[in-house]
Amino acid sequence: MAEVTMPRLSDTMEEGTIATWLKKPGDAVSRGDVLAQIETDKATMDLTAFEAGTLQEILAPEGTTVQIGKPVARIGSGKSAPQPSGTEGGQPSKARGAEPSETDRAEPSTRAAEQVPEEDGGQPSAGEGEQPSGTDRGGPSTRGAEQPSGTDAGQTSGRERDQPSGTEGSQTPKTPGAEQPSGMDGDQPSEISRAESSRTDGSQASKSPEVEPSGGGQSSAAANGKVRASPMARHIAAEHGLDLSDIHGSGPQGRVIRADVEAALGAPAGQDALAPGQQAQETSKPQPQDAQPGQEGSQAQTQAAQPGQEGSKAQTQAAQPAQDGDERIALSQMRRTIARRMAESTRTVPHFFLTTVVDATELGALRKQINDQTAEANGVKVSFNDLIVKGAALAVRKVPEVNVSFAEDSLIRHSHVNVGIAVATDRGLIVPVLRDADLKSLGAIAKETRDLADKANNGKLQPPDYSGGTFTVSNLGMFGVEQFQAVINPPESAILAVGAISKEPAEYHGEIALRDRLRLTLSVDHRALDGAVGARYLQALKALLEKPMLLLV
């Protein structure tokens, strides 16, 4: 008996929510099988089995949130899982997985039909003579592979279907949720689902042994907690943050298909909560670190002063009763993570803020020159953000004291400069990481940033994409925000908030001229760094950005 515990699936993960169980008690489990899908703070990931055996018990039902290391299920050693009582169809079930061949006697009809295909697949021509009648005709060997019916619908389906239907159904490990084996679906859903519950197929040990409560008939979709959906439907639902279990499946055996998801999308309700205003447009651009930067920053300041209050404030807010027309929106894991981490940061990290003004005229000229000469060939334009990310990374190299993490009794100085780039998505804020940004060319930075932003927007970021950052750049310039203060993304020690570039009169070679001006604000963890270090960092960065050729050499 082994316990399956909630694994740590990402750097920042502390707990995970069971999104879907893909196995049920009584199912056979092989090492590496996906037992469940887990929603973490960043993504939905697979929980795989490290032990083979039988899933004995589910300790955390779908929807429950479990801390890392806490048990979610138990796997027992028995090969032939005693089926949970009552689930068996009753008749020819015979725990097949256990003793493949002995059982024949018991239900000759089933066995006959079943064995034939196997032999048959072996030597099509020789063994053929046997009359096992129509059975093998179709695609006997395919039986094991399951799809057959529909397929050989080609020319043999007729025959296949004429088979003693009970037989047929019972050997086709039809399982809701197991998806692909569904080939049958088109054909006779009800019959199959009735029969299928009766038993499992040895040849498919790892997959098929799902046992459906008999009588489940049609809407098997949600009945046992699994959602049967086509890949296309899943894909679209994931893109729009829809929960499949909320969608009625109109496909075979209640499968959610594209049309169902599209219908759900058409309906006004069900949309994901969008943070107000913020990600209205331009979601693909790198964006601010915090959800509502303006506010957050100021909050953070007061925060640092009286840490105690924030918590209680949050509570009162949460407690506030909804009024007419208000809507209560459940927090996604991502929102929850943002909330927790930002609150934690402002509560525990003493922030201070340093702002500098950069003359970005030369920077703009360089950017134009670069894009005029390379954009076409490289297929990607270099943005101001890319230039600033490069500058920020080089400046970290020059002032490496910034590249640290505060670890209570020590400071960890990082050897790599991995720059996080805050990206706002429909689901919320996430900070993919550009590794060794100081060593990368502007072209590479531009390309990678775009790829990461795309992935972020599509929910495709994998843990390595957003872990390991040592410094973050958050940019609200594209929204015309002049300057703001960002909340540090722990365990990093600093974050750079980038404002808009605007034309302002300024001193230039002893005269007043209209120059492009850019405001940069550095938020610093005062536990790790002092003001002078932060100031030196900004100085170094300013120097790089005002003589931008330095970014290229």
């Binding site: 099509p124 397929t151 050989d152 080609g154 080939g183 296309m232 496909g251 075979p252």
Partner: protein, 348 residues
């Protein structure tokens, strides 16, 4: 521009290539005096003489081996094997020699040989003379394998095959010889004077979109492409179903990208082949498609194939065992229904 038969396209293309390149020679059983069992080589002995159109003994292993040797020394033999069923006698030469020589001997010699041979059932030739071995040959690295379905592709791919420096298995189909089709380049001066225009050849390794569509992708090759196209046209005309038909036409190398792109567009797919169901080319096609388009599938991919039995001789039974338009229609409907096609179409 000309509408000609598949047979005529092969014949004319062989003649053109022989005129263009002295090193192209033909070998096979009864291809000279008798002008070929299927008359593909009619008249060629007369025009090119017995040195270039060689009647061989009934000894596939021997003459395929001879052709491989000739190819290694600079000729471009086009071998006709009367039907694919007899190619089994030469399997060792094809698999262990033709496909390997260039790789095993430091690239010193290439084997620019074409092995033409018809596959297919439906002619009441009984079980041993009605087979398809596409998947056997397509399985072998070192070979190129094409299976054109139209006269134009027969021409374009035969040209490419003859000019290719690797051994090419050129799979024809008995039931295609009399089918007709447009061959745009045929008869044009450019093609007959030996300076074929670039677009006259069909690149090996490219699939053809025979018909565009948005509701479902129908994938086929060789004879089944013709059936697939008919079915697609009929379903579009009668029921407004928009089916994209892809003729794989090159089995190795396989143009996976075209298949995947199409299925990403349509979300539904049916694969048809005349071969047997298990372990067939269709299995490879389905696997490739799901790898590349998994997230876009709205229903399981279905396969239609021949019944898994030695093909019966009796006509009624033979026809019952072969995949037909009706089987295709059924598979298409199942696939559409499984993904709610109807409900999307009919106004609520």
């Amino acid at each position: 521009m000309a509408v000609i038969t598949y047979r005529q396209a092969l014949h004319d293309t062989l003649a053109e290539e022989m005129r263009r390149d002295q090193s192209v020679v033909l070998m096979g059983e009864e291809i000279g005096q008798f002008e070929g069992s299927y008359k593909i080589t009619a008249g060629l002995l007369k025009e090119f003489g017995p040195e270039r159109v060689i009647d061989t003994p009934i000894a596939e292993e021997g003459f395929v081996g001879a052709a491989i040797g000739a190819a290694m020394l600079g000729l471009r033999p086009v071998v006709e094997i009367m039907t694919v069923n007899f190619s089994l006698l030469a399997l060792d030469q094809i698999v262990n020699h033709a496909a390997k020589i260039h790789y095993m001997f430091g690239g010193q010699a290439r084997v620019p040989m074409v092995l033409r041979t018809p596959e297919g059932g439906g002619q009441q030739l009984a079980a041993t003379h009605s087979q398809n071995f596409s998947s056997w040959y397509a399985y072998i690295p070192g070979l190129k394998v094409v299976a054109p379905s139209t006269p134009a592709d027969a021409r374009g791919l035969l040209k490419s095959a003859i000019r290719d420096d690797d051994p090419v298995i050129f799979l024809e189909n008995l039931a295609l010889y009399n089918t007709k089709g447009d061959v745009p380049a045929m008869g044009s001066e450019a093609s007959s004077n030996g300076h074929a225009p670039a677009d006259d050849t069909v690149q090996i390794g490219t699939a053809a979109v025979m018909k565009e569509g948005t509701d479902l992708t129908l994938v086929a090759y060789s004879r089944m492409s013709v059936v697939a196209l008919e079915v697609a046209r009929r379903l579009e005309q009668d029921q407004g179903i928009s089916i994209e038909v892809i003729d794989v036409r090159s089995l190795r190398p396989l143009d996976r990208q075209t298949l995947i792109e199409s299925v990403r567009k349509t979300s539904r797919c049916v694969v048809v082949e005349e071969d047997w169901y298990s372990y067939g080319v269709g299995a490879e096609l389905v696997a490739s498609i799901q790898e590349g388009a998994f997230d876009y599938l709205d229903a399981p991919i279905r396969r239609v194939a021949q019944a898994e039995i030695p093909l019966p001789y009796a006509k009624v039974m033979e026809q019952a065992a072969l995949p037909k338009a009706a089987n295709l229609v059924e598979a298409i409907k199942h696939t559409l229904e499984a993904s709610g096609y109807r409900s999307r179409r009919t106004p609520a």
